[in-house]
């Protein structure tokens, strides 16, 4: 008993042209990832400032108590803002993903 050779797989039909959608994303300007990264950088900068002031408070170099509290508040708010934006974007993405079901 002989096994016949495997017949070659036929060519897969090329997908439909994606030129139209590619052009649309190219013209939409700064993408969401860049905006989110900038937001994260802001939150990071605020956290660094709060950390520096916390070190000053520990070493006794802090002149104004409120300066640290304000920096900590701003850092917390920046983080909350970035997380809120990210959650909203994820929500929108999940909504789109549910379309095919």
């Amino acid at each position: 008993m002989s096994i016949g050779p495997i017949s070659p797989v036929g060519m897969i039909a090329p997908p439909m042209s994606v030129g139209a959608t590619g052009a649309a994303s190219a013209t939409s300007g700064a993408d969401f990832g860049t905006a989110l990264a900038r937001g994260l950088e802001n939150a990071q900068a605020a956290q660094t400032k709060a950390d520096d002031l916390a070190v000053q408070a520990a070493t006794g170099d802090l002149a104004d108590v409120h300066e640290y509290m304000i920096a900590a508040t701003e850092a917390s708010l920046s983080t909350q803002l970035t997380v809120a934006v990210r959650n909203k974007a994820l929500e929108a993405f999940n909504e789109i993903m549910r379309l095919q079901a």
């Binding site: 104004d64 409120h66 304000i70 508040t73 701003e74 708010l77 909350q80 803002l81």
Partner: protein
């Protein structure tokens, strides 16, 4: 205007009131400094608050200058036992009105508290904005 501008502006107010509290504290601490009549008496220190131009995009307040009262002659008090007394028996005491200093202390404290309330309310407002559209 940076992000969370009102918190930063209230922060500048807090700094000014903290410096005012420092100045009043300094004045009260030195209120009984006797000095020889040949020298000058201790002068009360006053903080001059100055607005930071809102149009420039920053806003807030800053301490423009710390001025002395200029009352260098002080009050002449007859204290012949004092080691610094001159041949007439007089020494100089600072010409600082304790009542005025105490009312300034209250104003500075209340101003500080008011700015703290602004920081708190602004934080609440920003957090409420972050809850927008949720639930």
């Amino acid at each position: 205007m940076p992000l969370f501008g009102s918190i930063g502006i209230a922060g500048t107010g807090l700094t000014v009131y903290r410096k005012w509290l420092d100045a009043v504290s300094d004045n009260i601490a030195n209120v009984n400094n006797a000095s020889a009549t040949s020298g000058e008496a201790f002068q009360a220190r006053y903080v001059v608050a100055k607005a930071v131009d809102y149009g420039a995009g920053t806003g807030g307040v800053e301490v423009g200058a710390a001025l002395l009262s200029g009352k260098t002659e002080g009050r002449m008090v007859y204290e012949p036992e004092h080691p610094l007394a001159d041949e007439g028996g007089y020494v100089r005491y600072p010409d600082i009105d304790m009542g005025s200093q105490m009312s300034q202390l209250i104003m500075a404290q209340r101003g500080y508290q008011a700015n703290l309330a602004v920081v708190d309310r602004a934080k609440d407002a920003y957090q409420a904005a972050l809850q927008l559209g949720r639930g």
